[in-house]
């Protein structure tokens, strides 16, 4: 039994709205997206639509520019850049290349170019992924920066115990200053969090628009067919493919022969060198080969040890920089990057080693304090509660 096609009853008012809404959704996902009205004007090749579309294609085809940098490019530069980028990607229509550089014409051709780009790849999704808000769900794994900084200078202990009160007052001032800095930093953090929230809200809106677009794009493609029909037929369709010159039949033969001759020469030279070297060292005899084997073994062991050492601190010796936290399924195949349990394990063992060192230093401090206390009779020493 076949599948029966069900005809959905479409309300004509909805049908009229469907296209502009689809275009609006698309526009929201694109940088510098024009309004649905501009799209309509472009279909009829109205000149006022052209600049908006040149700008749009420029932003879409050169995504590595930061926001607002496109303003520093003149309209002519933008037009040339767009033409070059499309040509590089293999855009077939010649009419676009022939549009004037001042960016005053070509709405319809540009609309076709946009549709071509949209058909080739999931453009809105790619752009959204590229421009996503950096959330700060990143952490540093390497500690190079922390190790490089020498830290605050250790407070010097006065041997004779006399402290100038002015020094204490100075320290108080310093403390107050640091406190105020802390408050200011916290205020800054609040302001930045607010800013981040607003950016996330804007990004959410764009993501929703992308979903809308995917739901409604059919009506857009139907409309694009009419746009294509509206174009005058292209005079001729020369291929844009570069011509690969076919080599003449006998052209390769001499090259192949020459190559073979050179290879032969190389082989002879190598063998002559090796024979000479063997003659030079071969005189040592059996001890030499024994030494050589021993050497090989030692090198092999060193290499293995190095490999193990690398693997142990191993994944943590990888490129530095922040890493994004990504959640995966429990049994999922391992992707690139580190796994949290490994990192945690490495950090735990490092923590354990540092704890040992800390205990040792604390013991030394205690001994020193006890010695100092012994030197001052009549002093009561109350230790802080132990952990």
């Amino acid at each position: 039994m076949g599948r029966r096609r069900r005809r959905r009853r479409v309300d004509p008012a909805d049908a009229a709205r469907a296209l502009p809404e689809a275009i609006a959704a698309l526009s929201q996902t694109l940088p510098a997206g024009p309004s649905p009205e501009t799209f309509r004007r472009a279909k009829f090749d109205r000149p006022e639509a052209a600049p908006a579309f040149w700008r749009l294609l420029f932003c879409v085809l050169s995504p590595q520019l930061p926001d607002g940098a496109s303003a520093s490019f003149s309209p002519e530069a933008q037009v040339r850049s767009v033409k070059l980028a499309l040509r590089t990607q293999g855009y077939p229509r010649r009419a676009l290349a022939q549009l004037p550089d001042d960016g005053s014409q070509g709405g319809r051709e540009l609309l076709l170019a946009l549709a071509w780009l949209l058909a080739r790849e999931p453009l809105p999704e790619r752009l959204l992924a590229q421009n996503r808000v950096q959330l700060g769900d990143e952490m540093h794994v390497c500690e190079c920066e922390a190790l490089a900084s020498p830290g605050p200078p250790a407070p010097s202990v006065e041997a004779d115990g006399c402290v100038d009160i002015r020094h204490l007052q100075w320290l108080m001032g310093k403390l107050r200053f640091r406190w105020r800095n802390l408050m200011a930093s916290q205020q800054e953090q609040c302001a930045l969090l607010g800013k981040l929230l607003r950016r996330l809200q804007r990004e959410n809106a764009r993501l929703q628009a992308a979903l809308e677009w995917r739901r409604r794009e059919l009506v857009f493609w139907q409309w694009m067919d009419t746009v294509l029909d509206a174009c005058p037929p292209e005079a001729s369709q020369p291929t844009f493919l570069p011509r690969i010159p076919t080599p003449a039949a006998g052209a390769l033969e001499p090259l192949v022969r020459e190559l073979q001759a050179l290879q032969g020469e190389l082989r002879e030279a190598v063998e002559a060198r090796r024979a000479a070297w063997e003659a030079g060292v071969g005189g040592r005899g059996p001890e030499w080969s024994a030494a050589r084997t021993a050497l090989r073994e030692a090198v092999g062991q060193d290499l293995a040890a190095l490999r193990r050492a690398c693997e142990r601190g191993g994944s943590l010796a990888q490129p530095h920089g922040p890493r994004r936290l990504v959640r995966t399924e429990a049994g999922a195949p391992r992707g690139p990057g580190l796994r949290a349990p490994e990192v945690i394990e490495a950090l735990r063992s490092r923590e354990a080693r540092l704890e040992v060192v800390l205990r040792r230093l604390q013991g030394q401090c205690r001994q020193e304090l006890a010695r100092l206390v012994g030197a001052l009779p009549g002093l009561v020493w109350i230790l802080p509660p132990g952990r």
Partner: protein, 400 residues
């Protein structure tokens, strides 16, 4: 982190313009003697500190201009707009039609409270434009009427409203042979009030800058513009971005965060009586020194001489008192440049001189009525004298 500048009076506004101009020119200087990326980081840092961005791309100085007369402010605004490279905000200035007549009390007791709301609103608007506020730079003269009296009032207000932000007052120390007869009164009132409410007083002496123009730069007819440009150059070389320690990866976020420790401790010390200043000091004892190096070979610069304990007071180790900031990026096309910001006994003599002259005038109650008329009583003068004598004594004590 950003700095909001408050330009007060004729002096403050003229200097403020030169400062922003110097900062902008330097940050857009193509020959920085460093890599492109370094230059871009420097530019971005300078921009964040001193300028905000507008739609059409022209940077706007983070500044509030205040004066009781419109003439200087209008000149300043138009000079900035004329350059086409940066400008002041359209609504960032406050001025009135009537001046202060060099009367400190009028600026402090009349103009201040009367216009407090408007001025603080302007400042608040500027603060809100900052992602993160590091603090305020208040540029003012010490001995004028508007700049100094109103400046003291505004600084006090900033202390109340923005107690967590840092405030640095850039003060112009008047010529010794200045024309304003009550300039010493104004000076002591300004200094004593600022000492209580500001975090740092950065002082430039007109006489010293004048000497630089005459002797080092060989300018024949020295105008205020020349003086202001030298000042702006010095301030720029302090405030432009730097790295703070070895191996830092980012420009310092804290441009005003110099551990000034301005105040040598006041209380609890026995007063040593009025020091006779005939005693020659071998060293100008410091409580804090900051050296800022810019340009070529900064990393190999030899700074050992600054760490000599003899330079510093006995209860402070050089490592705590001496800081150095560096960057390879050259400043204002100078291949190498250095600036020293010093908190030391250097100003004791000039300060003592001003206090002495003011005291002599006060002893005969000359011109006091100008002040008492507007609410600055003799007690206020006496408080100021007491505070400044304490400051002088504390700085002198650094030598022990």
């Amino acid at each position: 982190m950003s700095i909001v500048t408050v330009q007060l009076g004729q002096c403050g506004n003229q200097i403020g313009f030169e400062v922003f101009d110097a900062l902008f020119s330097d940050s857009h200087c193509p020959q920085g003697l460093c890599s492109k990326r370094e230059n871009e980081a420097y530019q971005a840092s300078c921009k964040e500190r001193f300028f905000s961005e507008e739609e059409n791309g022209v940077p706007i100085a983070r500044a509030v201009l205040v004066d009781m007369e419109p003439k200087v402010i209008n000149q300043t605004l138009s000079k900035a707009a004329h350059s086409g490279r940066w400008k002041y905000g359209q609504h960032s200035c406050f001025c009135q039609k009537q001046g202060s007549g060099n009367n400190w009390a009028y600026g402090y007791s009349v103009h201040g409270p009367r216009h407090e709301e408007s001025i603080m609103n302007l400042i608040q608007k500027e603060v809100e434009k900052c992602d993160s506020l590091n603090g305020f730079l208040i540029i003012m003269s010490m001995a004028g009427g508007t700049g100094s009296g109103l400046g003291a009032f505004v600084t006090q207000n900033l202390q109340d409203r923005y107690s967590n932000s840092l405030k640095m007052n850039q003060i112009i120390w008047p010529y010794g042979t200045g024309e304003v007869i009550v300039q010493n009164y104004n000076s002591i009132l300004t200094l004593s009030h600022l000492y209580r409410s500001s975090d740092a007083l950065l002082i430039h002496e007109n006489d010293a800058v004048h000497k630089i123009c005459a002797k080092l730069m060989n300018i024949k007819q020295i105008s205020f513009r020349d003086i202001n440009q030298v000042l702006a150059h010095q301030l720029g070389s302090v405030f432009q971005p730097t790295y703070s320690g070895e191996g830092s990866f980012h420009y310092r976020r804290n441009p005003l965060g110099i551990d000034w420790q301005v105040r040598p401790p006041l209380s609890g010390l026995p007063m040593l009586g009025k020091m006779s200043l005939n005693k020659e000091f071998h060293f100008n004892t410091s409580i804090a020194n900051l050296v800022i190096l810019r340009g070529k070979d900064v990393h190999s610069a030899e700074l050992g001489a600054f760490k000599d304990p003899a330079l510093y007071t006995s209860w402070l180790e050089p490592v705590h008192a001496f800081s150095v900031w560096k960057t390879q990026r050259a400043f204002s096309k100078y291949e190498k440049s250095a600036a020293l910001v010093s908190n030391s006994q250097f100003l004791v003599k000039p300060l003592d001189m001003i206090v002495g002259k003011a005291w002599n005038m006060f002893a005969s109650k000359a011109y006091i009525h100008q002040y008492t008329k507007f609410g600055i009583e003799e007690e206020d003068f006496l408080d100021s004298f007491t505070l400044l004598e304490q400051v002088i004594a504390s700085y002198c004590n650094l030598g022990f």
